[in-house]
């Protein structure tokens, strides 16, 4: 008697539960490629190597900010021998000094991964100043 109702209910449940899957069929959700600025391309090497940087840049930045604010050390000599200014947005050898375009570099992945770091509430996007 209630067999049909149960089957119908189950079918509805399965369809709803699988919503994210069938909804995204046929859409292109490829991971974005970051666009490196000319300066970053020319430099070839970042602080860590590419994959390490991709996975661990947040821990590196966290470590940097503690070192700068608490130990007042600002110069970072990386394992690859390059020296950096331990700063997100100030100076030529800081992060933004090389990766000049926030939208094409930071935001591209952050938007895709739906992470909203609050860096820019305080730190200045170089473009913000020139505008």
């Amino acid at each position: 008697m209630s067999k049909n109702a149960i089957i119908a209910g189950l079918a509805v449940f399965v369809i709803v539960a699988l919503f994210p899957f069938w909804f995204n069929i046929g859409r292109t959700n490829a991971a974005p490629e970051v666009e490196l600025s000319a300066k970053a391309k020319a430099a070839k090497q970042c602080v860590l190597d590419k994959y390490d940087m991709r996975a661990n840049h947040m821990s590196l930045l966290d470590d940097w900010r503690d070192t700068v604010v608490r130990d007042s050390k600002r110069v970072y000599k990386a394992a690859n021998g390059k020296t950096f200014n331990m700063s997100l947005s100030t100076g030529e050898d800081s992060c933004m000094g090389c990766h000049v375009d926030k939208e094409k570099f930071c935001d591209k992945c952050h938007n895709y991964a739906s992470v909203n770091p609050y860096c820019w509430e305080c730190h200045t996007d170089p473009k913000e100043v020139t505008q």
């Binding site: 503690d66 608490r70 007042s72 947005s89 730190h123 200045t124 100043v129």
Partner: protein, 284 residues
């Protein structure tokens, strides 16, 4: 099976086997020690990152400030405050926001102003020293007051997240990242040197200085004795703009300029009776 056994018996004695086994055991046991020694002696040192201070940075055992009240005029006050404002992106609530960039900015509440260094009357700066027949000049003289970078800083003790802390060189500084905006430090500071950001400061900053971050809403801020400038080997912004009225230096170094000034002149500190051991002296 038989052949292996026979081979062993034929080619090696028990004595030989024990020798080989012993040497192998020592080798396995010593491997970590050998590795550690080779790293310590520089074998792998170039693969570790090194963090250092800037070579030309100014350092001190305990930073202090001397303000010569005889040299403070209204013009000096104005330029000092402006220099500090520009150096640290401090909002000016008298500034009219740019309509295009920041549309619909609600008007500023002047009670919420942000102060790092500001002008104060003698009777407010030194309330306990308001003597009955004090020299007439003190009633009108402008005084510059700022964070006193106390030796026993009450704000540092009050901060529950260690966002405010005392550096080894005596500067009381904030890690804005850690501040949760509880404002305990503001209640603790007897000098009113701390300000809370009730709103986004950007619309009220005339020109953003990219060398220093802006603060976000919900964060407390205060004078940092230009720690970022000292590290670049520059004098604090207020010192540069003060035409010699403000001197910053090492209080613990008897041969420093600031100690010389304190030796030659009568200087007082704000609210000394509280035991905060302020590092800012006023030459009277």
């Amino acid at each position: 099976m038989k052949t292996i056994k026979e081979n062993l018996l034929k080619k090696s004695s028990r004595r030989g086997f024990l020798k080989v086994a012993g040497i192998s055991a020592v080798a396995i046991g010593a491997a970590p020690a050998i590795k550690a020694v080779s790293v310590a002696s520089g074998g792998g040192a170039d693969s570790l990152p090194v963090k250092t201070a800037n070579g030309e940075s100014l350092t001190a055992k305990r930073w202090g400030m001397v303000i010569d009240t005889n040299k403070i005029t209204d013009e000096v006050v104005e330029s000092v405050i402006a220099a500090c404002r520009n150096a640290h992106n401090i909002p000016d609530f008298n500034h009219t926001p740019d309509e295009e960039k920041y549309p619909k900015t609600r008007p500023a509440n002047k009670n919420q102003e942000i102060k790092w260094i500001w002008e104060e009357h003698y009777k407010h700066a030194f309330p306990e020293m308001e003597d009955e027949f004090i020299a007439e000049k003190f009633k009108s003289l402008p005084f510059l007051v700022t964070c006193n970078h106390c030796k026993n800083a009450p704000c540092v003790q009050a901060c529950p997240t260690k966002a405010t802390f005392k550096r080894e060189d005596g500067i009381v500084i904030m890690d804005f990242h850690r501040c949760i905006g509880c404002r305990f430090c503001m209640a603790a500071c007897p000098y009113g040197s701390r300000s809370f950001n009730f709103r986004d400061a950007r619309p009220f900053i005339d020109k953003i200085n990219p060398d220093f971050p802006v603060r976000s809403k919900g964060v407390v801020e205060k004078c940092n004795l230009c720690a970022e400038r000292l590290e670049r080997g520059e004098q604090p912004a207020c010192v540069e703009a003060s035409e010699g009225a403000i001197v910053v230096g090492d209080l613990e170094d008897p041969s420093s300029e600031i100690r010389g000034l304190l030796n030659e002149n009568y200087a007082i500190r704000r609210k000394q009776e509280l035991g905060t051991e302020s590092s800012v002296y006023y030459i009277m």
